[in-house]
Symmetry: C2
């Protein structure tokens, strides 16, 4: 049934995050998921396809979570930009945070022709566009510029936190974002 498919996706996502993608064999995935390779290859035609689906689901979950948080906790558009880093902090400091999936995937698949790398790159671009949307609603002129700067801070903080838990990077990223947002609103 589809529950097994979901379980495989979940287990694969978990193992990819904790052990790395290339270091995780399909045998390990099916063993932990409590099924067999035959079933896995019924739902996914190849390991690469499984990787792509894991990445897609992970990114969609993140953007949905963030968007919901922003919509539930803010009234005006400008407020979203201000509270953005509060929720990013909440996401990063969650006990099961193990780094941003598309950042790590791009590192494991450096070849720009590779499908996994291309999807990762696209998700990064997509996230920047989302930030640009927030900036635009808040009345920032150089939306692309601020979006890029904020994405650097966010991805940098995620990278730092993945490298060393409890790095505190997000605290300083938040301070930096306040300065940069203020500067962008004036300019």
């Amino acid at each position: 049934m589809s529950t097994l498919r979901a379980k495989i996706l979940h287990v694969a996502s978990d193992l990819f995050q904790t052990r790395g993608i290339n270091s995780t064999g399909v045998d390990t995935i099916v063993a932990v998921a409590g099924t067999t390779k035959m079933t896995l290859y019924k739902y996914f035609h190849s390991k690469e396809e499984l990787i792509l689906e894991v990445l897609q689901k992970g990114h969609q979950d993140f953007e949905t979570w963030l968007n919901d948080k922003l919509n539930q906790n803010t009234k005006q558009p400008a407020e979203k930009l201000q509270k953005l880093f509060d929720f990013i902090e909440e996401w990063i400091t969650a006990p099961d945070f193990r780094g941003m999936a598309f950042i790590k995937a791009a590192a494991e698949f450096p070849n720009e022709e590779n499908a996994v790398h291309r999807l990762s790159s696209d998700q990064s671009r997509q996230f920047k566009q989302y930030l640009a949307g927030l900036a635009s609603e808040a009345g920032v002129k150089d939306t692309e510029g601020l979006a890029l700067q904020l994405s650097l801070l966010i991805e940098g903080a995620m990278q730092a936190e993945q490298m060393k838990r409890g790095s505190g990077a997000i605290k300083y990223a938040k301070k930096a974002s306040k300065i940069l947002i203020e500067s962008a609103l004036k300019g």
Copy 2:
């Protein structure tokens, strides 16, 4: 002779950057280097040891290059902080730039117990300390804070450039750094 050892290090560094560490076998390394596994294992006791040496040399080369550039092109301490991102840009936009080694290595070896991950994490910390030194000489009060913020921008820009060449991320990182440095000098 030691030339072969150097050649192996160089070739391994190149392959690790372009294909990823886990995806590069020792057979490939020795083939490209024009030698054999027997020789490789004479100079390095294991693949992990080779990885560690490649990382160490890469990071040392980077810090030496950056430090020389800063010393050659500036007179006063405060100037170094201002020109820092010019040289970071020069480094990132070099045609053979393929991402920061320790960032990618940490992604490929997510386990914090792993020796490669630990070295990567240490190099990141070391780089932050270097930035804190620059901030301190320039008269910044919260040296650790500014150093962390600048490292987020730099590592974020490197990450972005690795993900998509010609992203232009460094341009906006530079602008952001000017704002943050100015703010830190005032505070």
